[in-house]
Structures are given as structure tokens and as C-alpha cells.
């Protein structure tokens, strides 16, 4: 079991948070918007906290908020806010300031995702997957 801290509970962050919690991991979510907590609860019979999840209100860039969310104990840190540059900065903070062993970072821009991956960050680029899926689908249609 790992302790996973997720900064940014949008569609991606909250879905990953729920599936990781269901898989038996300890999960703590950080988001500046209290409403994002509802996304964690949506469609569930019980609340996020009832099933053992943690939620902290704060900005991913604030060290105090990261600490409150438990980054100092985290085995895995996921930066999945809506801002590429926030994610890339916070991911480096997690690595260099808090020495989190495993850091994953969402980057929408394929160019930045690729370059930062070459610098040693584990970037995940949803745009890249969308492009590939469109290309595959079109190839099938054209087929």
C-alpha cells in the first residue's frame, strides 16, 4: 500500500484518486476549490472521507498546503491541476524540496511534456494520447 498525494482534483485527478483509494492505497487530495470535493463524492454511496480519503483545501504551490496534505510522508505525488506550469513547478518542488520518491505530472502541452520528460520528470500528456487516438481512428476509417 502506498500513500499517494494528488494536487488538483479535476476530472483526471479525482478519478485517479477514487480508483487508487478503491485499490487499497491511502489517498490525500489537495485542491484550491472546495467544490472539487463534490467531484470525489459524486455518484458514490458514501462520502470521500467515509471511505478513508483525505481532502485539503489549498493551492498546490503553497508549501504549507502541501505539508498539510501530507507530502512529507508521500510515496507518490501526482501534479494534476489545470495549469501545466503549476504542475511542472510543483512536481519539481515535490522532488527537490520534499524528496518524494515517485512523482507524476500531467502536462497538456506535448512539447513541454516531452522536454521535461527528457529532464527526468515522469510526465503524462493527455493531448498526446488524444492525438494518437484520433490518428488511429482516422486510419481505421480511411482503412
Amino acid at each position: 500500500m502506498s500513500f499517494i498525494v494528488i494536487a488538483g482534483a479535476g476530472r483526471v485527478g479525482s478519478a485517479v484518486a477514487r480508483s487508487m483509494l478503491a485499490a487499497g492505497h491511502e489517498v490525500s487530495v489537495l485542491d484550491e476549490d472546495p467544490l472539487s470535493h463534490e467531484r470525489l463524492d459524486a455518484g458514490q454511496p458514501t462520502t470521500w472521507e467515509d471511505v478513508g480519503g483525505r481532502f485539503t483545501i489549498g493551492q498546490a504551490i503553497e508549501a504549507e498546503a502541501l505539508i498539510e496534505a501530507g507530502i512529507e510522508q508521500a510515496d507518490v505525488f501526482i501534479a494534476s491541476t489545470h495549469g501545466d506550469n503549476t504542475n511542472l513547478t510543483v512536481a519539481q518542488i515535490a522532488q527537490k524540496m520534499f524528496n518524494v520518491p515517485s512523482v507524476l505530472v500531467r502536462v497538456s502541452d506535448p512539447a513541454r511534456a516531452e522536454w521535461y520528460a527528457a529532464q527526468g520528470l515522469h510526465t503524462i500528456c493527455p493531448t498526446r494520447y488524444a492525438i494518437e487516438m484520433f490518428e488511429d481512428a482516422l486510419n481505421e476509417v480511411e482503412g
Binding site: 506550469n85 513547478t89 527537490k96
Partner: protein, 219 residues
């Protein structure tokens, strides 16, 4: 010199004007359409429209041949990324970053983005200069180089008053480099006698400030 400025707010725009006035080549990148259009009216081809944290936008501006990159957007993460990419991907030697929120300064330090300039810090420094505490002014702080220069007004009744420089018993790691007396500055000798009302400049290792100050000023 070729300078790329990212962020066309008041800081970026005025910097661009000044650098152009001094005869430098400048590109100013702004991602807000309305701001860009206003800039383009005035600065024409100097203004470029786009997100300066995107690689192709920086490349279009010619970042590879830039002598200086200035990141002065209103977003600290953007400014960090711009400098990091300019330095590590495009090997730009010199860059300056703006710190909007002084709390984020630690991240600029963490990632080696310097110099990083914060208006709040600068104004604080000015306030310190205008309203010196115990007659103490920080003239230079280079924490990285472990060097500090302070200016202290010598108050009557302090331990230093009436003593020669050689008898001051300054802590090791500090030295009086200049004395300002009646509007004139001079470099003191060992037998220069310190008088009340003098302003002394002391060069010191960080951490010695309190010890040095108590010699010259009465609290």
C-alpha cells in the same frame, strides 16, 4: 544586446521601452490579445503574440540567439518555467525573473532561478532605508556569496565612539571599509578615530550583524 521580455504588463512594457531607447534589440511576448494589440500599436514588430512558456513561441522569438531573457509575467510558475527552459534547453546565459508572491521566492532559489526580483522585497528594502532601525541600513546582501555590507550611524555613548579603528574589537569576519563624515567618505586607517554622528560602512559575514551593530549604536 538582444533581450526577450515575456509579459507585457506595466513592468514588461516599460522595460521594453527603456531597452529600446538605449538602442537594444527587444522582443516583447504577451499572451493576452487585448494587451498585445495595444502593444503592437506602439511597438510594432517588437511585440509578439503568444504564450511565452510554449517552446515554439520562444523559438519564434529567436530565444537561441537571445543574450537576455526577462520573465515578468504575473504568474510565478510561468516565470520559473520560462527561465528554466531558456537556461537549460536554449542555453541562454542571462535571465531575470520577477517574483510576484514573495512566498514563492524559495522555489526560485530551489530551482536556481536568479536573480529573482520581487517588488515587495524592493519596497521593504526602501522602507528599511528610509526608516532605518537603530540607524542600520543594508547596502548589499549576497547570501549566496556570504557577503553583506551595512551602513550604521554611530551614536554618542556607543562603544565605538572616540576609539581608533584598531581598538574597536570588531568580531572576526567584519571590517570597516568606509567612514562618512560631514558629507565626505574616506577609507579609514587603523588610527582613524570614530566619532558620534559618523556613518560607517562595514563589510561582514552574514550573522554578525547584531554583534557589529551593538558596537556602534546604542539601542
Amino acid at each position: 544586446m538582444y533581450a526577450i521580455i515575456v509579459g507585457g504588463g506595466k513592468v514588461g512594457l516599460n522595460l521594453a521601452r527603456e531597452l529600446l531607447d538605449k538602442g537594444h534589440e527587444v522582443t516583447l511576448i504577451e499572451q493576452r490579445r487585448d494587451r498585445y494589440l495595444a502593444m503592437e500599436d506602439e511597438l510594432e514588430h517588437v511585440a509578439q503574440y503568444g504564450d511565452g512558456t510554449e517552446l515554439w513561441v520562444l523559438e519564434r522569438a529567436g530565444v537561441q540567439r537571445a543574450d537576455l531573457v526577462v520573465a515578468v509575467t504575473g504568474d510565478d510558475e510561468d516565470n520559473i518555467l520560462i527561465c528554466q527552459i531558456a537556461r537549460e534547453k536554449y542555453l541562454v546565459d542571462r535571465f531575470i525573473a520577477r517574483v510576484n508572491n514573495p512566498r514563492n521566492r524559495q522555489y526560485f532559489d530551489l530551482l536556481g532561478i536568479k536573480p529573482a526580483v520581487s517588488a515587495t522585497d524592493l519596497i521593504l528594502r526602501l522602507i528599511e532605508h528610509e526608516v532605518p532601525q537603530y540607524g542600520l541600513v543594508h547596502l548589499l546582501d549576497l547570501p549566496g556569496e556570504r557577503l553583506e555590507i551595512i551602513e550604521i550611524e554611530v551614536s554618542a555613548g556607543s562603544a565605538a565612539t572616540g576609539r581608533a579603528v584598531r581598538d574597536l574589537h570588531l568580531p572576526e569576519g567584519s571590517i570597516v571599509i568606509s567612514v562618512l563624515r560631514e558629507g565626505t567618505g574616506f577609507v579609514p586607517k587603523a588610527d582613524t578615530v570614530i566619532a558620534a554622528g559618523d556613518e560607517v560602512l562595514v563589510c561582514l559575514d552574514p550573522g554578525l550583524e547584531d554583534e557589529v551593530t551593538t558596537l556602534f549604536a546604542v539601542r
